[in-house]
């Protein structure tokens, strides 16, 4: 599969009340079914990038846009959020703010998007049931979403988006408010969704997870794509990361230290497994 599903062309955006920042993406193509990690320091423009795919930029934000973003055959600026909501889904950081409050329990919360799009009751019941099983929310289906933990709420938010069957799922730091266990739960879930063919755009600072799951990493800073490449390539490049105010992973830093001490000349490892292998082959006494 080599089909392009998201395409930026000469895209420029700035918020009308912010002269300093401009998101500027000359050309970008994202393949259907790929898992793309987005990294960059705070204020880099990651959220704005997500908004541009979803159509929140330009439809729900004030500012000026040039160029185009296409989702398959749809050009976002000529479309509407309602149409786009069945192509792209966006999950954000704060789980609580994503609960519409439209229903008193999880089932009804999930059905909200379907109600908005006028699905018949029978269809809704079927779709909601399917999603609840897929996401693993069965035991919470009748509970109030406001009573759940942050991790569970985030799952409800993902379910509420997925019920509209978008092909693209954009997640903007969805584990930012979550504890390690819930974080793991979310990444495991998204990994499963990728297997089912969804295109995933995932903004996160959790490099360990991105390294494991992504086909490609895009590094954004000051509104521009600084570099796009394979996870190992980006995460092993400590100087690239630090130039962009990002800290490398602990394992990678270990190799940088070894290099400084004159004990390492090869590429830096980016995962525990990889470093074990590399170290054992380099230092015979470790075998």
């Amino acid at each position: 599969m080599n089909q392009t599903i998201i395409e930026f062309n000469n895209f420029k955006w700035h918020y009308s009340n912010n002269r300093k920042f401009r998101l500027d993406i000359q050309e970008l193509k994202i393949r259907k079914g790929s898992f793309v990690g987005i990294i960059g320091p705070t204020g880099a423009g990651k959220t704005t990038f997500c908004y541009s795919i979803m159509g929140v930029v330009p439809h729900l934000q004030n500012g000026k846009m040039e160029g185009s973003v296409r989702i398959e055959e749809i050009e976002t600026k000529n479309s509407s959020l309602n149409v786009l909501s069945q192509k792209v889904g966006l999950v954000v950081q704060n789980p609580l703010s994503q609960m519409s409050g439209a229903g008193l329990n999880v089932e009804e919360e999930i059905a909200f998007g379907l109600e908005n799009h006028g699905y018949s009751r029978q269809e809704m019941i079927k779709k909601v049931k399917k999603i609840i099983e897929l996401i693993g929310l069965k035991e919470y289906a009748r509970r109030s979403p406001f009573e759940l933990s942050g991790g569970q709420q985030q799952k409800v938010a993902i379910a509420s988006i997925l019920v509209l069957e978008p092909e693209i799922l954009v997640l903007d730091e969805p584990t930012g408010y979550l504890d390690p266990l819930s974080t793991d739960m979310i990444f495991t879930l998204v990994k499963e969704l990728k297997k089912q063919g969804k295109t995933i755009i995932f903004v996160s600072h959790k490099f360990e997870y991105l390294n494991e799951l992504c086909d490609e990493i895009i590094l954004i800073n000051k509104g521009k794509i600084i570099k796009k490449g394979a996870p190992t390539e980006i995460f092993s490049d400590i100087s690239l990361l630090s130039k962009n105010n990002l800290g490398a992973m602990d394992v990678t830093n270990l190799f940088a230290r070894l290099k400084k001490a004159g004990k390492w000349k090869k590429r830096f490892a980016v995962s525990v497994e990889e470093s074990e292998k590399e170290l054992r082959s380099e230092f015979p006494w470790m075998r």
Binding site: G89, S100, E108, N116
Partner: protein, 257 residues
């Protein structure tokens, strides 16, 4: 832990299963007959009736608690103010210390206050016995705007959230050594730093929530459907007609009680 006095209480009775429109119909009946008839007995009839309905809805405890917290201070205030300063007051009924309380003022307070308490009790009854999700469905069924129903529904749900948020901020501030208990002045001081984070937090979240509902098609220009079924059933018909009938009898018999 503050009292959650603003939200729907889930109980199993036919009152909770009534169509919200039936209860709104009752509220309208009560308001019109109380205002038109200006009769204290009818007001009391409806006041007792709402407690009876709360009992049928199996929420009498919470109802009495909520009503007392909200209404008692207002009622006492009314009696004091009108008992003392209402210009209609002539006959002195009794004195507390040297302050005279006059009969006409007290009667006015009793009359007006009872009406106010009765009407507010019905609204309160509506809020705690009506599943907010049903309001949206029932509204659009009779042609009222979907967004109006959604607004009522979500604000009813957000009130307890605001309460919870206030508690959290208070807890955090208490943990940092702010006095929340104690003299009235201290308490007042304690609540001031609560206001800004409360409002800012709520605004931020409201903004984010707009985004969240818009990307789920909130403004889609199609006819909305409803996951929950809200029908106008036989019990609604019986409920509405019973109260219409009762009210008519009261109106006809109006002046004669």
């Amino acid at each position: 832990m503050a009292l959650m006095i603003t939200s729907f209480i889930q109980k199993d009775s036919f009152i909770q299963e009534l169509n919200p429109i039936s209860k709104i119909f009752l509220i309208l009946l009560v308001i019109t007959s109380i205002i038109i008839l200006d009769n204290l007995y009818i007001t009391y009839f409806f006041l007792i009736n709402v407690f009876f309905l709360a009992y049928l809805a199996k929420i009498e405890k919470e109802f009495v608690k909520g009503i007392t917290i909200v209404m008692l201070p207002i009622a006492v205030w009314f009696l004091i103010i009108h008992g003392i300063v209402n210009p209609a007051g002539k006959t002195i009924l009794f004195k507390i210390w040297f302050i005279p309380f006059r009969k006409e003022g007290l009667l006015f307070a009793l009359n007006f206050g009872s009406k106010l308490v009765t009407i507010i009790s019905y609204f309160y009854f509506f809020i705690i016995t009506t599943y907010p999700g049903d309001i949206v469905g029932s509204f659009s069924k009779i042609g009222l705007p979907y967004k109006a129903g959604f607004l009522i529904n979500s604000s009813l749900q957000m009130l307890p959230l605001m309460q919870r948020r206030a508690e959290k901020i208070l807890e955090a501030q208490e943990a940092r050594g702010l006095k929340v208990k104690g003299k009235l002045k201290d308490r007042f001081k304690a609540y001031t730093p609560l206001i800004i984070p409360l409002i800012l937090g709520a605004l931020m979240e409201a903004y984010e929530r707009v985004l969240a509902i818009e990307i789920r098609g909130f403004s889609a220009k199609v006819k909305k459907t409803h996951y929950r079924e809200v029908n106008f059933e036989k019990k609604d018909l019986i409920f509405c007609f019973t109260y219409l009938f009762l009210t008519l009898i009261l109106i006809i018999g109006g002046g004669n009680f």
